[in-house]
Amino acid sequence: MKFLSIILSIVSMLVGCMSCTPSPENVLQADEPLLIYPDYKDVSIPVNIAPMNFLLRNEGVEALYVIVRAEKDSLEYKTRGNKVKFPMAKWKKLLESARGETLTVEVIARQRKGWKRFSNFNWQVMPDSIDPYITYRLIEPGYEVWNALQLVERNITNFEERVIADNKLCEERCMNCHIHGNNSGDLSLFHLRGKNGGTILNRNGELRLLDLKNNRMVSAAVYGDIHPGGRYGVFSSNIIIPSFHSYGNRRLEVFDTVSDLAIADFDKNEMLISPLTSDSTVLETFPTFSADGKYVYYCAAPNLPVPDSIREVRYSICRIGFDSRKGEWGSKVDTLWNAEEKQASVCLLKASPDGKYLLYTVADYGTFPIWHRETDLQMMDLETGRIDTLKMVNSNRSETYHSWSSNSRWFVFASKRGDGQYGRVYVAYIDKNGEVFKPFVIPQSDPENDDLNLKSYNIPDISATPVPFDAKKIQRFYRQHMPEQFK
């Protein structure tokens, strides 16, 4: 495959060389605004990010000349057509030399009436790196039917993408999203559903297939997180009911009729259950560990009759202690964010690795934010309780499924702001004072990819190192193993 790609690249290079790329001459100032996709105007980028390729969407663009200027270095790019695809090596060199600087991007385009210079825009190169690996599930944004599912690991410092699990190789089973512990490829898990399915746990490359369920749980593990120590995982078990909206672009509403929490002890094959988080009158879900592993944050709502009262179901943020040495739940539940007071509903909690912030999703109601247009990210300062509504990050479409980089300076999230249907992965910077900057969508080798790709990027999760398995290994492992039972 690689060999074939090289040959094709050489052929396309030769063809490219044969048709000479025009240079700007008699350049006039453009009287229209610069329209680029993705919206990379004035964003803050990590020093190790892949080339920020983009498309010029102004009408009638025939050729482009782009120059990216740093204080001491610059990068020129000329091409026919409207796609800017920076060469990798030159891009890396430029970013390394411009660490902490502001890059100025000048775009000159040839349109029917000659060459035009558009207004410049800037890229702030942040010296803080971002963890390179993002895993996500590629899935059609459908309703109940899934077809081809792949868990993919993308290296965002370049354009390498690797399939780490493929349902085509696993009897076309449903696969849920892959999450890391400690932002490490050596600690991660995902669920493989169906007969003889379970949770595939990866600890230092050793894979285990676990049936994370006992007779006190209403279902196998659903949403969850891995303890920083790697021995435990906290999960919700939910009875999930889908329903469909009749109007607008809200496709699907998913609600729980029952949901509780349980902690899995991966060493003892035991599920730890607390009456405080398995109350039948309360729906508890989306648990996550605090950065130090001493608390479990989760969402909780009163169990109302659904779907009739679905608009009244609002989840608060709660916290309960966890003693990892004894493997015991705490004895007191604190409410950090009261849904009734806020008249909104929270889901998907993620604590920053430095323990300072809690990032979460807020919707008007319910527990399934993907198709709620109003869904936004918010961030709570866990020391002061101050809430940042992240105006710079949010759009008028759903923002959710967020994940922190290990240095707590970057987070990634999925947003449907592009077209309202297909989720894409965005990256946002947060400085040491907690100020958050304008996010940008992860760059693609072909910037038209987001237009043509009919898959959503589901639950992006970021990691400093790659996972030590691939789809073939998962295929073999799944074929050869029965799930380990938990008591």
Partner: protein, 585 residues
């Protein structure tokens, strides 16, 4: 047999095959072609080509998809299939000849073609197999054109991986020819060691290629060894494909052993036998009831409402799939209340069928939801049907409908995504480009006869859709816009199909908001039935009922209550009334 007679005979037989194949696909099996066409989305796009070429069999698949897009016009599809089958037969004969088979066995070259034809009559058989066979036949014929033994071997060694990549596992047929020809030659020359070694080497080489491929590609090994795209269901590999392969390998060898005879009568018998067997075998592969259902579905796509009704008048459809199409046609022509029970009905499943996780059955229902104005539900059924296509392909039909539902819902960027893809197709390009001009132009959309109306008809308030309370969903739709007569007709039809008379009587007065010039016949039949259950005379009846309906119910009631074994008679006489559905079914 003299040369000209032989030539005329052979040309005649081949021509007959070409004509018969064309007539069959064009006149008797066209809906199957349209069915195939809707379940793919062939794009004139470099990335699409690359995606296909990057897997084994991808080239054959790409060519097959390219050809299948022409099925949009069934006559073109018939022409393509006729050409392919004929070319395969001719190439097959060319190859058979290479083994020394005598000309009188020309009809035997039709046997693989008939088996392939039988296979292609299956709606899930993909054209890629036929293309792959054509490719391998060309490669096989080229092999025998090379006279130098060493060059032949080099050609074969090189051809195996290339053929595997271009055409898939049909390469084993090529290996079969090469190995058999080597062994025959060995037998003739009585030198065994080297030919045997070569043969085993070629077989091992043929097996090694998929194994190596499995190392690099993420496909189950079994599929790489069997074939990826010959059948729509990736996990299914029909035995007939093995049979075709075996026939292609064995016919040249076996027929070369047959003796020479010179009796014309013998050849005629041979022709008749092959033709009779071929006819029966192809026929046994055809499913004309599916063809009928597909035709109904296609007519719905083309909005040929009156043709649908005409077709049902000549033969009433019975499958829920076809009945859904018929009922929609009745609704769209305003005849549902008057004529629905003239035809076979299978309950609410023939009206608005519940969602089934497959790629065919949700489509007619999604059409009904669309024309009713239940845009989100139409979108869901369409999207889910496309997601359920077993070979993971996209669908031109679904893309078109999804572009429309998103356009109606004002989701222009999503609509644009579908339209941009369709603008890279051959037959949907013009429509897509024209529709792109509607995006964001509220005035233009609202003025569009279909989309403008559906915008008015659709729900404008959000709630969770419940298919268990479909009558309520229809009622809400009608109450939202009383001009939506189709919603009212479906509402009453739905409760009538459920035999829920109480609900009918509750919903019936809502019809006052619609512009009926008469009470539809089936409503009359139910109303008089209700009246006669509670009254002894017609006096005071609030509805304008036709006198013949009143007379008929009296006769029906009399026979029904007095003659215990009159069921068949009543069915015959009142088979086209609602009473038949209500009381006799």
């Amino acid at each position: 047999m003299n040369l000209s007679v032989e030539k005329i005979g052979k040309t005649g037989l081949t021509l007959l095959l070409a004509i018969t194949a064309f007539v069959f696909w064009n006149n008797y099996y066209p809906a199957h072609l349209l069915y195939h066409e809707q379940y793919q989305l062939f794009l004139f796009d470099g990335a699409y080509l690359w995606e296909r070429l990057s897997v084994p069999e991808g080239f054959a698949d790409y060519i097959a998809e390219f050809l299948t897009q022409f099925y949009y016009h069934p006559w073109m599809g018939a022409l393509i299939l006729s050409f392919l089958l004929t070319a395969i037969q001719l190439l097959c004969w060319a190859l058979v000849k290479k083994f020394g088979t005598l000309y009188i066995y020309y009809p035997l070259s039709f046997i693989p073609v008939f088996v392939l034809w039988h296979y292609l009559a299956d709606e899930n058989a993909m054209l890629s197999l036929a293309v792959a066979i054509l490719i391998v036949l060309i490669a096989g014929n080229l092999y025998f054109l090379i006279k130098n033994t060493r060059l032949r071997l080099i050609y074969a060694l090189g051809c195996i991986p290339v053929l595997y990549w271009l055409a898939g596992t049909i390469v084993y047929v090529f290996i079969g020819w090469v190995v058999l020809s080597i062994l025959i030659e060995a037998y003739r020359t009585r030198t065994y060691f080297s030919p045997l070694f070569c043969s085993l080497g070629l077989i091992a080489w043929g097996i090694l290629i998929p194994l190596v491929t499995a190392y690099f590609l993420q496909y189950p090994l079994l599929r790489l060894l069997r074939g990826l795209e010959y059948y729509r269901f990736p996990e299914v590999f029909p035995n007939i494909i093995y049979a075709i392969g075996l026939l292609l390998v064995l016919i040249p060898v076996v027929s070369s052993l047959f003796p020479l005879w010179n009796k014309r009568i013998g050849v005629i018998i041979e022709v008749v036998l092959v033709a009779c067997w071929g006819y029966n075998y192809v026929k046994s592969g055809c499913d004309f009831s599916k063809e009928e259902s597909m035709k109904y579905d296609w007519m719905v796509r083309e909005k040929q409402w009156n043709e649908i009704i005409r077709m049902a008048e000549s033969k009433t459809p019975t499958s829920p799939y076809s009945v859904t199409c018929l009922n929609l046609a009745l609704g769209m022509t305003g005849q549902m209340g008057d004529r629905m029970f003239e035809f076979y009905q299978n309950g609410t499943e023939g009206l608005l069928a519940k969602y089934q996780r497959d790629f065919t059955s949700p489509l007619p229902t999604s059409e009904a939801f669309y024309y009713l104005g239940m845009i989100n539900t139409a979108q869901r059924f369409t999207f889910e049907a496309m997601e359920a296509i077993p070979n993971f392909r996209k669908s031109t039909r679904c893309f078109k409908r999804l572009a429309e539902t998103n356009l109606i819902n004002g989701q222009y960027q999503v609509a644009a995504k579908y339209l941009h893809a369709l603008s890279k197709t051959l037959f949907y390009k013009d429509w897509a480009e024209e529709t792109l001009g509607y995006l964001g132009n509220e005035k233009k959309i609202n003025a569009h006869p279909e989309w403008g109306w559906l915008r008015k008809a659709r729900y404008t308030e959000d709630f969770l859709f419940s298919d268990r309370e479909m009558d309520m969903m229809l009622g809400l739709l009608y109450q939202h816009n009383y001009q939506n007569k189709l919603a009212f007709e479906y509402l009453l039809a739905y409760v009538m199909q459920q035999r829920d008379i109480d609900k009918f009587m509750r919903y019936y007065p809502l019809g006052a908001h619609s512009d009926y010039d008469h009470i539809p016949k089936h409503y009359q039949e139910l109303l008089v039935y209700v009246w006669t259950q509670t009254h002894n005379s017609w006096k005071g009846m609030p509805w304008s009922i036709y006198p013949d309906v009143m007379r008929d119910i009296m006769d029906f009631a009399k026979i029904f209550s007095t003659q215990s074994n009159a069921r068949e008679y009543l069915k015959q006489r009142y088979g086209q009334t609602y009473w038949n559905y209500l009381l006799l079914n």
